[in-house]
Symmetry: C2
Subunit: 283 residues, 2 copies
């Protein structure tokens, strides 16, 4: 049987190219996140992205300006997304001639007005260690996720916040890791196999924790494609087997009132947001 | 020996409390990231945070307004960080009486002016599946990270982008997962134990990949505290043993010209940013 190959994005060399710089005095994560969210609104432009973290001195700013001006001289007119608190560094960046979009300054002024207080000069390291209690919770959650990946351990399921169940290759593992790392949630995941389907109930290991369970499904075609990458031309990756497993899994979710979602068109970020909302784990 | 306990943050009940809402027509990740980065500049205010994702209808906006007004009636004057593209929903939010900080609109106008084109109505789902090639790379990277966690597998080290080496409990695993999940990098990690120190060289398993190696260290006191949580009052967690292992590890890094950083005051986000910059893995 012919399995269609995964579609790679078409070449974008026909599009206009602009250089996009995410410049930060810290990790660059905020600049990358918001900058990329903004750029996603302009699909007709091809952006060449560069993240430059830890720009916290005038000398650092000068090196950035050198890079920006090189991009400009190559014809890729640059746009700079900046999350730097120092007014001096921002001035330097503005002197480069590139369009500089200040992702913090304007909003900080709005917040100062609303809060009736001025922004601290020292703080603002959101991606720093911050609250050590929250930080350790995330670290423990990653260990828990590794220990409980793919039904490897049944120990301590009683303290799980979420147990993700699904047939193999529906996206359990990356979603588990994302929830653990970003939100410090204790997430186990458990694979549904043919052995689990003769019965109407959930696998006995997780049945007693039904209220913690969340199911994943996908489309048979997508599952077949993904499994094909792992074991080409196997029964495991056949469209017939994938169709059967997904139908049985969805039946199982419905019969046991386990909330579930289709992962075929969703990123781990989207799945995580839906799962937390469904299970009321994000206030 | 007395090991000082980890310090928990002091109570903030004495601070002013404001409600902060991160309202998004998508996952809420961008609103949370930038909103939290902005709020970190106001340490004298205690923020009660709420993320409300998938607000993409007028009815959804009305429910949010209900929540906002409840917070206001309880005396926690709300601030709303919005990443919604619909002008109508934004108008609704503005009608709530709360301060609404529009994290997208103004910057989209700046970008439109710079790019000479209007923002697409359809797109802008940055946290969607997006580029399927990049998406699959991240998924594969998470599997690789799990398989190669803590020296479990020596298979396929030749394709690793990074091999993180460090004594036990210096932060290898969460940093590995973060690099895999966020950036799709293939990251293995390998524990340095007493067995590795009699020699001057790196452990033979990783020695041939020295150019991929990055070391972690921490302070003896922090390491002792973290190990103490796992195995209280053991040789493993003793300050003497931690001091010895860290000194030997740092010697090993220096002798073999392995770049390294001290993880004791850094978050996984910061460590990841430093590692990628040091190894020139983020352009």
């Amino acid at each position: 049987m012919d399995i269609p190959k995964l579609v790679e994005p078409t070449s974008r060399t026909d599009l206009r190219t602009r250089a996009a710089y995410f410049v930060s005095d810290s990790t660059g994560i905020t600049a990358e996140t918001l900058g990329s969210a903004l750029l996603a609104n302009f699909p007709s432009v091809n952006f060449r992205r560069h993240t430059i973290p830890f720009v916290d001195t005038a000398a650092g700013a000068q090196r950035v300006i050198g890079e920006i001006q090189r991009a400009a001289s190559e014809g890729n007119e640059p746009i700079v997304f900046a999350t730097v608190k120092s007014a001096e560094i921002l001035r330097e960046l503005n002197s480069s001639g590139a369009v500089v979009i200040d992702l913090l300054g304007g909003h900080l002024r709005e917040l100062e007005a609303s809060l009736g207080t001025t922004a601290s000069e020292q703080l603002g390291q959101y991606h720093g260690v911050g609250d050590i209690g929250r930080y350790f919770a995330r670290m423990r959650a990653v260990e828990y996720a590794i220990e409980h990946d793919d039904g490897q351990s049944m120990r301590a399921l009683d303290i799980a916040d979420i147990i993700i169940i699904a047939p193999s290759r529906c996206g359990k593992t990356p979603t588990t890791m994302y929830l653990a790392l970003q939100y410090g949630l204790l997430v186990a995941n458990y694979p549904l196999t043919d052995d689990d389907f003769p019965s109407d109930g959930l696998p006995s290991t997780v049945a007693r924790y039904v209220e913690k369970c969340f199911g994943l499904t996908t489309t048979p075609l997508r599952l077949s494609q993904v499994r094909h990458e792992r074991r080409p031309d196997s029964t495991y990756s056949s469209l017939a087997q994938c169709t059967l497993e997904l139908r049985r899994a969805e039946d199982l979710y419905r019969r046991n009132r386990v909330p579930f979602l289709n992962s075929s068109t969703k990123s781990v970020e989207e799945m995580s947001a839906v799962i937390m909302q469904s299970m009321r784990l994000r206030s």
